[in-house]
């Protein structure tokens, strides 16, 4: 693979960033060496990237949440055995092997972080955003969650407690946001459009129905 292949897709912001161009050269060299050794298949890399660009992402989690809002039996199952309940919708696999669902309520808002690395429920949310893996979020979520939420435009009432889940082992957490008011009678597909990625991490709330339409 030549330089042009890599440059063509770089956005302008990073194009002139030395660190990014150093990494581009380094990763290309690494891939070349491993290919020559017969250790990696570039087509496998393409397939991995395509999976997380087109198949495995936060729309999976939104379907889980919308079903939990619509179907009390499913919500119960999700509470008791999130891994199985989520697998019943076809969402399994890497970084979703051991799922737990935590439900927001008037009394408690849940927020998920991995202070030690970047643990994230890939099977339902896809790849984590940069901020989730960066020091600002990982350092502050556990000590100043209300300050962090304010940076996402979320202000919770002081009467609502905050529970932060630090993903220190192999359990992966999905936040089930509160169902917005004014959504009675909406279908699961319509409800899923109100469920944002951030609302399933706990840094956002589900959208009001007019915003989702």
């Amino acid at each position: 693979m030549d330089d042009h292949h890599y440059d063509a897709h770089d956005d302008h912001h990073h194009h002139h960033d030395n660190r990014y161009s150093d990494m581009q050269a380094r990763v290309r060299a690494l891939e070349t060496v491993l290919m020559e050794k017969g250790l990696v298949d570039p087509a496998a890399i393409d397939a991995i990237v395509e999976t997380y660009e087109t198949k495995v992402g936060p729309r999976n989690g939104a379907r889980v949440v919308a079903k939990a809002w619509s179907d009390p039996d499913f919500a119960d199952w999700l509470r008791r055995d999130a891994t199985a309940a989520i697998a019943s919708l076809g969402f399994t696999g890497r970084q979703g092997e051991h799922m737990r669902a935590v439900f927001n309520a008037d009394e408690t808002h849940n927020l998920v972080v991995c202070t030690l690395c970047s643990c994230y429920p890939w099977s339902v949310l896809g790849l984590p955003p940069v901020w989730y893996k960066a020091p600002a979020y990982r350092s502050r979520a556990v000590i100043d969650p209300r300050g962090v939420l304010a940076e996402f435009g979320v202000t919770l009432p002081q009467t609502q407690k905050i529970r932060v889940w630090d993903s220190t082992a192999e359990l992966r957490y999905l936040v089930v946001p509160q169902r917005p008011s004014g959504t009675e009678g909406m279908s699961e597909a319509e409800l899923a459009d109100l469920v944002t990625r951030d609302s399933m991490i706990g840094t956002g709330l589900a959208l009001a129905p007019e915003a989702g339409r």
Partner: protein
């Protein structure tokens, strides 16, 4: 280890910067970094715990200024060298200089869907009953190993309540160093914010970690 990765409660990193409509990747090399990391993981030569430890041993100044995909690549280079698959000299040269160790498998495109869908479950049976039950008050141990641990510094020597017995899992602290999976019971342990952060803590805050049994002492 008390490395740069153990960030809970540190200060000075500024505001969180969510990026509206963030793309999945910010450069082509990030795509290759993801694919290479997962492809090399499929060799079966190291565990996820060893790879986490490789990331946290990146020198602090480098770790804290790197993007996460850069952290992955720097750690991957260490793992490839340690296990005989590729040396720094070869990466510098950009070509193969010697034959590699033999991997258990090479991930080909046709295997990707199955491998990603299976993932790598790490629950394992143990012979013993759990020592703690829901509602028990426990204290985390105070220790500062130079090796891998998943007990963050902010949560050491802190009292909390067992909220759930989560099953038995591979013990990361041992598995990262090739000492075996040695599964243990895993608990969700919840702390009051004031227990962790003391004076001035948000009184409405609770924080939980998932803690292996050997991290805990009964109160």
């Amino acid at each position: 280890m008390n490395g740069p990765h153990d960030l809970g409660g540190q200060m000075g990193f500024g505001p969180v910067a969510p990026e509206p409509h963030e793309p999945y990747f910010h450069a082509e090399w990030e795509k290759r970094a993801l694919g290479l990391t997962l492809s090399c993981g499929a060799f079966g030569a190291w565990t996820i715990d060893e790879s986490r430890h490789a990331r946290e041993t990146i020198p602090p100044a480098n770790y804290l200024s790197a993007s996460y995909y850069e952290i992955w690549i720097r750690a991957l280079e260490v793992l490839l060298e340690r296990h005989g698959f590729a040396g720094q000299d070869e990466i510098e040269a950009g070509r193969m200089l010697r034959a590699p160790a033999t991997p258990k498998r090479v991930l080909t495109a046709d295997m990707v869907a199955g491998v990603l869908a299976r993932g790598g479950p790490c629950d394992r049976p143990v012979e013993t009953a759990p020592r703690f039950a829901v509602g028990d008050r426990v204290r985390t141990k105070n220790f500062n190993p130079e090796t891998h641990t998943r007990l963050p510094r902010y949560a050491r020597a802190k009292a909390g309540v067992i909220e759930a017995v989560q099953g038995s899992f591979v013990f990361a602290d041992d598995n990262a160093h090739g000492r075996g999976e040695n599964p243990q019971w895993l608990y969700t342990l919840v702390f009051d914010g004031t227990e962790i952060w003391g004076e001035g803590a948000d009184p409405t805050l609770t924080v939980s970690i998932d803690a292996w049994e050997s991290y805990l002492e009964r109160l």
